[in-house]
Each structure stands twice: as C-alpha cells, then as structure tokens.
Symmetry: C2
Subunit: 196 residues, 2 copies
Amino acid sequence: MAGKGLTKLQRQEALMQELKINPFRTDQELARKFGVSVQTIRLDRLSLGIPELRKRMHSVATQAYEKVRSLAESEVVGSLIDLELGVRGISLMRIEPEMVLAKTKIARGHYLFAQANSLAVAIIDAEVVLTGSARVRFKRPVYVGEEVIAKGVVKMQKGRNFLVSVYSRVEADTVFKGQYVVSVQDESMPREAMHA
Amino acid sequence: MAGKGLTKLQRQEALMQELKINPFRTDQELARKFGVSVQTIRLDRLSLGIPELRKRMHSVATQAYEKVRSLAESEVVGSLIDLELGVRGISLMRIEPEMVLAKTKIARGHYLFAQANSLAVAIIDAEVVLTGSARVRFKRPVYVGEEVIAKGVVKMQKGRNFLVSVYSRVEADTVFKGQYVVSVQDESMPREAMHA
DNA sequence: CTGGTAATAAGAGGAGGTTTTAATTAAAGG
DNA sequence: CCTTTAATTAAAACCTCCTCTTATTACCAG
C-alpha cells in the first residue's frame, strides 16, 4: 500500500487530501491504505475535525442534491439585483470554479452569454419569452472569483420583438457586450417560434 | 401525521413518492409518517425493492457527485462525434430535463450556444482557444429529449483569428445557426485576450 | 370456523461508527 | 540506564439503522 513511514503530520495531510478526492472511504480502507490501525485513523479524523463516513456521505449527498437541483431549477443564470420590467435590469454572477476552463481558469463564454441572455429575457414582461438571435462580443477573459455585473436595457420594440442591449463588467472593465433580439410568445405556442 | 387509514397499495405508492422527493428518510420517520410500524415500512421497502437509507444516500451521493463533477469538468458541451482538426467537426447533444424551461419544456438558448461554441473551439487546433465574438440565431425551439446535431466548419482564417460557422439541426430542422470568431492564444496569455 | 392476507413483535447479528480507559512502543532527555 | 512524552494500538460498551428469521395477532371473506 501507499504511504508507509510517514510522520503523523504527513499522514494527516494525506488523509485530508484523500478524503477530499474521495469522501466515501471507511476508516478501515484508510487504515489499510496508510498502513496504520483503524484507531489511528479515527484519532486523526478526530483531531482534524473530519466526521464519520455516514455524515460525510450525508453532507455530500444533500449538497450535491441541492446543487444539481439548483442548476436544474434556476431559470435565471446569475441573480437579478435590480429590475424595471420592460425597461432595464441588472444581474450579478460570480464566476465559480466549475465555470472555468481547467487550463486557463478563464470562464467559458457561454456562462457570460447565459447571464446576459437570461437578463434580457427577464426584463421583458411576459409569460413566455424566447431568444431569437444575438450578437455577442467577449472583450476580455473573466477569471474565477470575479463578479460579473450585467446591465441590460431595452433599446427598441417592434411588435412582439424586443432588442435588448447588455453590457457586462467586472469592476471597471467591460468584459462582454451583447445585443439580444427576444420575442414574446403567444399562449398558443406556435411551433415556428424562437428560443429560450 | 399524514396518511393514516390507507390501504397497503396506497401506502406503498405514497412511500415511493415520498422517497422520490426526499430520499433521506429513515424507516422510523416513515413509520411515524404513515402511522404504521417500522417493520411494515421495511416490508414495504422489501417488496418495492427500495434499498435502505444508507444505500440510498450512497447512490444519491455518488451520482450527484459524478454529475456535479462532469458538469464541472466537461470542457465540451455535447459530445464530439467527428472532428477534423482545423477544418470541421460534428457534435451531438441530447436535451436533458435540466436544460429546459419548466413552463414550456423548451431548451434554454445558452445550451445551444454552448454546444456550438465549444464545437467551434474544439475544431481549432491549439492549446488555448477563446471566443472573441459570435452571431447566433435561434430558428426554432428545441424540446426535451431531442437530439441536436451541430456541424461546424472553419470558413476563414486571419492570423490567429478563425471564423467558424455552426449549423445545428434536430433531424431535418435547422434549429440554430451561429458564426463564431475564435482566436488562438499565446502561451504567454496576454490579459487583453478574448474569451473561452 | 377456517384460511389467507396484513401487520406487528421479538431476537440475533452486522457495519461503521463513538467514547472512554488502558496498554504498548519508540524515541529523546537527563 | 531510567524516565518522560508522543504516538499508536487495543479493548469494552454503546449507538443507529439496518438485515434476516421466526413467531404472534388481527381481520376479512368464503
């Protein structure tokens, strides 16, 4: 097995690391892996404040459950922090680790697109609003941890189509610009409609 | 307490329903909820083939873990089913329930955008490729369960910028068109770069 | 009354722990 | 060499949520 002949400190660090990667391990497995007794592992967990397998599973399960839920159920990407229906709106989105490319830590463009798109849709005051087309420009990369503030303004209305202009900034930098054409749908959902 | 005076069948259905909504319930809680003994709940689970709490937790935990993981780690939205580096590529994406608007079951536009965007980026043969700008058009809504096939072709190259054109279809219908300008980045990552 | 179908109960055992108390071992200091 | 200390291991009791098996009881229908 790996990692024999470690100091206590090294073992404890390795233990934390191991449980971060794979939280579903019993003390027994860990004991075997580190070549120490089960009790030692328990002492380590105790001094590191790491709960038992079942509690770890429970928290992973509920958290991940929530996360998948919220990913699934949030219709809006980013959080609306200001909204004047039919006129303008502001949305805030924090770049989380899962939004970035591993190599560069740069946010993938579609998150910025999504934030702006859902802002544009949210501003329009109707039951069903779909995106028809968009022109977007990415001005500079956005990195993990940065907060993107998107401001959207309705520029024009032609019948059931609206032109919404969105500017996204990180502090003083403009990072994204987009023009979205969105349209209000009938209740009777025609199939030749447009997109959400 | 809810649900006393139910028949066995009704109770078992209610039980399944309950565990679908909240898988983290002990037999005891369930017994109290349905006003029967713990053993009855166990018999019900047995006959319904529902595993015990710990196994339910374990499966939810690992599945959700995988899901969050894969959401985080898949750099590509959709799966590349054909790729000729620097020339063209094809990507397939199935519309899953979590991709659609609850009300209309129409896929949110940014998924189509993301599929096309990551296809465009994947076609370009370089370490780091970021999206500079895009023009997209949503031709018709896409619904849950539909499979979107995106075809991307490099139309032009000017220095380190590429114009990639992407058409997405569901069977015979064109559902999406996009023109992406993507650019290859230096290893020395200049800050005034563009977007992923 | 007598079956069959619930439902409940009772007992033993296992997995994966917790807590507490005690014993062993190894290295280190005087 | 002897003693102290830190690190480790062990042992005994108890906990929660189960499983699996073997009764016992309650009813409703034929």
